[in-house]
Point group: C3
Chain length 147, copies 3
């Protein structure tokens, strides 16, 4: 993984290149933590050799895992970074493309990168705070933290 | 729905959290109108309890409705806000993910949010104007409005 | 194709409207070259009358073409622009939606626009360099160019 931090002030942009064999979620979380990113848009394209996607089941209040065990194009990786309990919290969804063009998607739990993942993280200009939602048990975006 | 407006000048960023039961399209349109957004990129992730997607039929010059009546992940919500007849005009497409990871997508007509939709609206720095295209009857992006 | 360049300094935004019958890839590449874009995020929505998508085959080290020969919604077009051998290099993936809402996706090789494609290109603030990866033969994002 290699990253570059561009610009200064409250709207930095980070470009992250995740390398073969690395986990996309761990890599982006690590970069976000190292650069103290607490409010940003995240987009990426590239490829995965393997991935675990999630679907949130209303009844069980938990994610059902959708395993993807084949080389896929990362057609879209989209989401945000907020702050939860003092640490950056990544929330990204992915649409993956198979050999025949068919797609599979979900909440991104893990993605083993191959041959690359090109990630752009752009700060929104404030810290975005998460708060636990009683009904689902999920930490949902609540707004900005006190200035 | 809660929103925060970040930054000043001609490139504001709005973060909008759409709550359970609200319609995503109505919520974003309302926020865009209240903050006078007339040229922006829109991205979002979250979930819908139900949605209506559209596919534009060339022959009929109208949208065919694709109803989605199940809990889905909003894998990608992407598009723009321009100005049409003096008001903000939202144009967003969505890819939705079912329990088994299969996907369905289209022009977003309605989306009943559950449990959340996290929207980021980033201004491009000018008003984007729409103009009615004679062949399709659609209001398409024409360029910027006169400065 | 019509485009507007917004802002100055090292984070310009380009809004590009690709017209009926034009190829999306050629149009964006031409605009990127004319405006000397060498590091940017790209997003777009719209429609294609026809497209060629690619899936990178690990064994063959080449793209398999997935032809799409029907009117589709461009649900998501996402990627980046970097610099390769002195010229802008576009890397975008697309998710396309059929009449019944089913989707097909891949690396975008060609897309014949109908009725429109609304593209937003936002610079990240530096030139992003590509370098040929020996294992795949692909030009992958390497980082930023020397300042």
């Amino acid at each position: 993984m290699r990253e570059v931090e561009l610009g200064d002030g409250d709207r930095r942009v980070l470009v992250v290149v995740v390398d073969k064999g690395e986990d996309a979620v761990a890599a982006v979380n690590e970069v976000a933590q190292r650069h103290d990113i607490r409010g940003a848009r995240v987009t990426a394209v590239g490829g995965f050799a393997s991935a675990d996607l999630g679907y949130f089941e209303r009844e069980k209040r938990d994610y059902r895992t959708i395993p993807v065990r084949e080389q896929v194009e990362v057609l879209s990786l989209l989401g945000d970074i907020a702050e939860n309990e003092g640490k950056p919290a990544l929330h990204v969804h992915a649409v993956l493309g198979r050999r025949d063009g068919s797609t599979v998607g979900g909440h991104l739990l893990h993605g083993e990168v191959w041959p690359t993942l090109e990630v752009i993280i752009s700060e929104v200009g404030a810290s975005l705070a998460k708060r636990v939602d009683q009904e689902t048990g999920l930490a949902l975006l609540a707004g900005t933290t006190a200035p």
